[in-house]
């Protein structure tokens, strides 16, 4: 196995960092607990991919602990336009990632911890994992009112969601990951997960909104470290291994050969936006021009993140027909992306008659179109 020699090195490294005397043999029995030193959502998702693709989970299951700097993570088959406020994300520099597992959209920041349970496909069992988490939390704070629902959520006080679940199954291996809200920024969470979109028709998996609460709201004495530790301890107990967390660096190509390619792939536009199932946009632009307001109906079909069909219902001769058809022709096949569209439309302006009136109409229309993306 490719991992083995390098994992031994990693374990030796971790031995130096955490428990100097622990030999790797004792930790390498039955299960392994690892924690990422990175807060980059793409790197951490890449680690999940890597373990899923390369590790033999027959002999040893894995628990992976990770946290991310602010990011919105959508499920494999979701539509980012439908799930979150993309403009707000871009403004606040919050990353957008698409994970490979199914399920709904979540907001991550350092106040949220992520747990991934890796097993063989046969041993895939979500309920067991969540019960483990609840047991760990209750051992830490017995007074917490938490339980697992049949939708694989963990609720606090019967009402507030503190954890959501998703899973990925491959040919031989599988993973179940879940979030755990410790001290996340609820204000940003609710504003960023609200899509301003109207008129979007899609078969993408919709998210089910829920009221959320932080564990810290319930008990301010808790910290993320305590929670991670408690969960790791419970996992270690249940798998009869040492309570020993191995740190891994998701940028380490020697430890995880091929990881940087996986990280890059997760960041490509083709993956994040291009994997959106086909959808259509049907809306009306209200453009204030001079002294009147124009109602312009727009219909677009977007497939693989690119505009397949584009119809803009402008008043006749508002734009010269030749220019209008140039616009539609340029947009067709182009990414449903504000940056790309801005470049295209501003370039088109270079090669059309230099008329101020025309330019201001053009800019108005294009800016409104770009707002849709």
């Amino acid at each position: 196995m490719v991992l083995q020699p390098s994992l031994k090195n990693c374990l030796r490294l971790s031995c130096v960092l955490r428990t100097p005397k622990a030999g790797f043999r004792s930790t390498a029995r039955g299960a392994l607990i690892i924690q990422s030193v990175s807060n980059d959502v793409y790197q951490n998702l890449a680690v999940e991919d890597w373990i899923h693709d390369h590790m033999d989970l027959e002999k040893r299951q894995v628990l992976f602990l990770w946290r991310n700097s602010p990011a919105v993570v959508i499920g494999r088959h979701q539509n980012p336009w439908q799930e979150c406020d993309l403009r707000l994300l871009r403004q606040k520099n919050i990353k957008l990632a698409r994970r490979r597992s199914g399920g709904g959209t979540v907001y991550h920041d350092l106040g949220n911890i992520n747990l991934t349970f890796f097993t063989t496909r046969k041993k895939y069992e979500r309920m067991e994992n969540l019960k483990l988490v609840v047991k760990a939390l209750k051992a830490l704070r017995p007074q917490l009112d938490i339980h697992v629902t049949d939708r694989y959520d963990i609720l606090l006080d019967r009402h507030y969601k503190i954890s959501g679940t998703a899973a990925k199954l491959g040919r031989t291996s599988a993973y179940h990951h879940c979030t755990l809200l410790c001290n996340a920024d609820k204000f940003v969470l609710s504003s960023v997960l609200k899509s301003p979109y109207k008129g979007l028709k899609s078969n993408a998996t919709p998210s089910v909104p829920a009221s959320v609460k932080n564990l810290f709201d319930e008990d301010p004495s808790l910290t993320s470290e305590m929670l991670l530790d408690a969960i790791a301890k419970e996992y270690a107990t249940q798998h009869q291994i040492d309570h020993h967390i191995t740190l891994i660096n998701p940028a380490d190509e020697t430890l995880l050969p091929g990881i940087n390619n996986k990280t890059k792939e997760l960041q490509t536009w083709e993956w994040v936006y291009g994997k959106t199932p086909k959808f259509s946009v049907s809306t009306c632009l209200n453009m204030a021009y001079k002294d009147s307001v124009l109602d312009v109906k727009v219909n677009m079909d977007v497939k693989h993140g690119r505009i397949e069909v584009c119809n803009i219902d402008l008043p006749e001769q508002w734009l010269p027909p030749a220019l209008y058809s140039e616009l539609v022709k340029s947009l067709t096949g182009s990414k449903f992306c504000p940056n790309e569209t801005t470049t295209l439309v501003t370039t088109l302006l270079r090669v059309c008659p230099q008329d101020d009136e025309l330019h201001s109409r053009w800019n108005l229309l294009c800016e409104n179109m770009i707002m849709l993306m």
Binding site: H77, A167, L169, T347
Partner: protein
């Protein structure tokens, strides 16, 4: 040892959803041996209904979300066929067989049932040893097919070539540690195993093709007839190039470039180049940089170049003009909206600084900072990208000296700035001194601009830039 017959079939696991499985075969025969290999899927194979296997947790239905293959595509065992979703779990269904997809039983968003047929696969009439493979080592782009063989009840994955190598050397595959994907045994694993056993790496079978040695290939000692004489003979694999031409439509930024440049082609360009001594400016910038930083602005050379250009345009306004399509009218633009060519991940964009004629060097620097950060974040607005009247391109930050820039319509002139080099020059007294030299290359529309005008503008710009203090006289 290896009969090199290359057949590449792209992996079904799709990275870009647009890619399809291309069944592309090229047979390269290197061996002297006449071996018959099947090249195509025989059409009269057996059609098997591949049923959706158990997902676990008692799930009986899933939704089909994405197909990775289509009817008519070839698949190999373990290739990804589709992605289905069930209750927050996304499942990759992989093929159990080698063959050709004959029918998809569901469309996207349909509900599929566990235990019911998912796809119909036509299996090759004689499966097993028959499929050819492309032997390892090629970079991740290449695609391998492996046959799955049971050896003494212990399943090992290895290509026929690897198995042959093992057989020739009397090695039990079950004793070899596989380092490939899914514990597949690679040629290296056999060689490593042998090396450990005998302390030397044995050569492949003598019947193998003698290939002309490549200079940098691995060298393998020959089978010692005479053990004392170990002459390394490079055993090289014929270079297997599995790359294919890739055609994709021109979209987005490239499309924009095509439009702009096609229009620019209509403009008769002429060029004018010169050498600028930036020694004084370099010193001035060093002094002013910390002052600007205190005010939160990063000061490069561009603000000086831009301001100097605007001062020059005040004297030669025709360079800040626009010619209409019929070349009947020239419009002298009042605003100096000077564009700055910016290289981003996606390509070339040219945002402009508006009304440079009323901006100070500091204002220009601040505006450039704003445009640069928006540009790298991909968030420039339409107003930033339209309305330009004159452009400067600082290609020197990447490299180069002289250039032949292309005018961006509807403008009539453009300047390209090369990199700053430290070279020896003579001063007024005939002494050699250390000069910081940059080259500038102007292009202008010869329909309305003549060489003399361009030259005079360039001289004026040069004098401002070489002697920055002189800008003070003309600043408004």
């Amino acid at each position: 040892v290896c009969i090199h017959r290359v057949r590449s079939c792209s992996s079904i696991r799709v990275i870009k959803s647009k890619s399809v499985c291309v069944f592309d075969k090229s047979a390269l025969k290197f061996s002297h041996q006449q071996r018959l290999f099947r090249t195509s899927a025989v059409s009269c194979g057996q059609i098997v209904q591949f049923k959706l296997s158990d997902i676990g947790e008692g799930i009986t239905e899933v939704t089909v979300k994405e197909w990775y293959i289509k009817e008519g595509d070839s698949v190999s065992q373990f290739d990804s066929i589709c992605e289905v979703q069930s209750d927050k779990a996304s499942v990759t269904i992989t093929s159990r067989y080698d063959g050709v997809i004959r029918k998809l039983h569901y469309s996207i968003d349909d509900i599929a049932f566990v235990g019911k047929p998912l796809v119909d696969i036509e299996i090759d009439a004689s499966k097993g040893v028959a499929s050819e493979e492309d032997v390892v080592e090629t970079p991740p782009m290449s695609h391998e097919e492996h046959t799955h063989q049971e050896i003494k009840g212990h399943k090992t994955l290895a290509t026929p070539a690897v198995r042959r190598l093992a057989m020739e050397n009397n090695i039990k595959l079950s004793e070899v540690v596989g380092t490939g994907k899914d514990n597949r045994i690679l040629k290296e694993d056999i060689l490593n195993y042998l090396a450990k056993q005998t302390g030397a790496i044995l050569p492949p079978s003598p019947k193998a093709e003698i290939v002309p040695p490549l200079p940098k290939s691995e060298t393998v000692p020959t089978a010692p007839k005479d053990k004392a004489l170990k002459i390394p003979v490079p055993v090289s694999r014929p270079i297997v190039f599995s790359g294919k031409d890739k055609t994709e439509p021109v979209t987005g930024f490239q499309k924009a470039m095509v439009k702009t440049m096609s229009a620019a082609l209509k403009i008769p360009h002429f060029g004018y180049c010169d050498e600028i001594d930036l020694t004084q400016l370099v010193q001035l910038r060093e002094e002013l940089k910390p002052l600007a930083e205190v005010r939160g602005v990063k000061l490069s050379f561009m603000p000086f170049f831009i301001k100097a250009a605007s001062l020059g345009l005040l004297q030669y306004p025709i360079l800040n003009a626009s010619l209409d399509e019929n070349c009947k009218n020239v419009t002298y633009k009042a605003s100096h909206n000077i564009g700055v060519a910016m290289d981003t991940e996606q390509g070339l964009i040219v945002p402009n600084v508006k009304n440079v004629q009323v901006c100070s060097v500091f204002d220009i620097a601040a505006e450039l900072n704003r445009l640069q950060s928006l540009g790298s974040a991909g968030q420039l607005g339409t107003s930033d990208l339209t309305g330009g009247t004159f452009t400067l391109s600082n290609i020197g930050t990447i490299g180069g000296t002289y250039a032949k820039p292309v005018i961006l319509p509807p403008e009539v002139a453009i300047g390209a700035l090369g990199k700053i080099q430290v070279v020896p020059r003579f001063n007024g007294k005939g002494e050699v001194f250390r000069a910081q030299i940059m080259n500038v290359s102007w292009s202008a529309d010869h329909r309305i601009i003549d060489g003399a005008t361009m030259a005079r503008f360039s001289n004026l710009w040069k004098s401002y830039v070489e002697n920055p203090a002189s800008m003070l006289l003309d600043l408004k």
